[in-house]
Amino acid sequence: MTTIRHPRVGVLALQGDVSEHLVALEEVGAEATTVKTRAELEAVDGLVIPGGESTTVIKLLERFDLAPLIKERVADGMPLWGTCMGLIVVARAVAELPEQPTLALLDVSVRRNAFGRQIASGEVELEIAEFGARPFPAIFIRAPWIEESGPQVRILAQLDGHGVLVQQGRILGSSFHPELSPDRRLHEYFIDIVRDAAAIGKLARPA
């Protein structure tokens, strides 16, 4: 199988901590780029939806007509990772606000600001079985947690009995902000998903 060493990974740049993800993705070998338009979205092998305000970004995704194309590309196999706000945006539903529209790509229901307002935001050493004994420095800022998830969803890490890191096929969701800590293991984990998907995509495409 051909491996793609430097896959093109986009960071949705409508609002949020975009530059922090760009830096982290470059560090793990991606060619990182911002995505604000449909044309930019067409050109990437994987997409990260960063931290920010979910209420704002969900409106902007509709306003600038990006939501249908993200769904289409993910249905075609594009890897997707939502961090904090991004997890809310990709979730099937928001538990405390069922009328809130979302992209509904990850079969989980999330509770927003689950830990409380900003003064409850904090840092914790999180155990992630996938990464072995060394805990992951997880930074939670007005963070959501997973309230309930479907059978296809693997819970990779929990805090206080709630999922905070989940995977469903090529879709990854985290309540916390790996882009704010120097630990790059989760960005590496995502980039491996993107590399695999891109390699399979290259084979599948007619010559």
Partner: protein, 294 residues
């Protein structure tokens, strides 16, 4: 969970990047702002243009009103305290506010010292006219910096002056040999460690927003292109003739600040007039809000 850390306080400001923070005086305003796509609201009793018109002493807002605004929206809520008034800040932290603005728009409580912000769990944003002022505020514990501009003036000229002053001084620090940094720190009136950090990073160690005088979509685009990482709009929305349209248009222009096409559509969508402006050169020195604080 370790709460109130530097990372978590600066982190909330990072999550607001690329967004618009709007001044609101009622829960209904707050909902309009959230609907338009604001990333946060600033809960106030009066917007700066009215504070300016009314004169007298402007203090922290009624906490009952702040609470009602917090209950009305899901986005973060900020509120202002007078410069140096740490007791107002303690009360807001107790209330559970998400961010405190130690603001020159209110009448200063201390004419020499600002709040020792590092000791609080809640993050602070402070205004600055130049790099030295920005770094002094960061040294005190500010997690976010904004230009001061001239609040309530509807005039962007002061915000442009402050943003250019900050960006120019940062560019200069990255270019000078490191033996100059001690003298530069003395000239800036800022701690050497922060001056060295800025010289190395080529940016402030915290997020930098624009505030003071933004009243149109083009103003927002201008400030983002000058290097602001987001926008505060005070009087520009609720002093315009069509707040819903202005709020949405300023959000669109901030998101797509580098696409003149979007600025055209945003400007055409206004169906109303921007707030009246003031020529800041005609303000007496005592009427200039930006000169409050040091």
């Amino acid at each position: 969970m370790k709460t109130g850390t530097l990372t978590v306080k600066r982190g909330l400001a990072q999550m607001l990047k690329g967004g618009v923070i709007m001044d609101v005086v009622t829960p209904e305003h707050a909902v309009i702002a959230q609907e338009a796509g604001a990333v946060a609201v600033m809960a106030l009793e009066r917007i700066p243009a009215d504070i300016r018109a009314a004169g007298g002493v402007a203090r922290m807002s009624d906490l009952e009103l702040v609470q009602r605004i917090m209950d009305a929206v899901t986005i973060p809520v900020m509120a202002k305290v007078r410069i140096g008034h740490f007791a107002e800040a303690q009360a807001l932290q107790e209330l559970g506010i998400d961010f405190i603005d130690e603001s020159e728009v209110l009448t200063p409580a201390d004419d020499r010292y600002h709040v020792a912000k590092a000791g609080f769990k809640v993050p602070f944003v402070c205004g600055a006219r130049d790099l030295g002022e920005a770094l002094r505020r960061i040294a005190e514990g500010a997690s976010m910096i904004r230009s001061k501009g001239e609040a309530g003036s509807g005039n962007i000229v002061e915000a442009v002056r402050h943003m250019r002053a900050i960006k120019d001084s940062i560019a200069e620090l990255t270019a000078v040999p490191k033996e100059e940094l001690v003298s530069r720190a003395r000239d800036l009136g800022a701690p050497l460690e922060l001056v060295q950090e800025v010289a190395q990073l080529g940016k402030l160690p915290v997020v930098l927003f624009c505030a003071g005088g933004v009243s149109t979509p083009a103003d927002a685009s201008l400030m983002m292109q000058l290097g602001a990482e987001g926008i505060f709009v005070g009087s520009g929305i609720f002093k315009s003739s069509n707040p819903r349209a202005f709020a949405k248009a300023i959000v669109d222009a901030t998101t797509h600040f580098n696409d003149p096409n979007v600025i055209v559509s945003a400007s055409k969508s206004l169906s109303g007039t921007a707030m009246e402006g003031i020529d800041v050169r005609k303000l007496a020195p005592s009427e200039m809000l930006a000169s409050r604080g040091n």
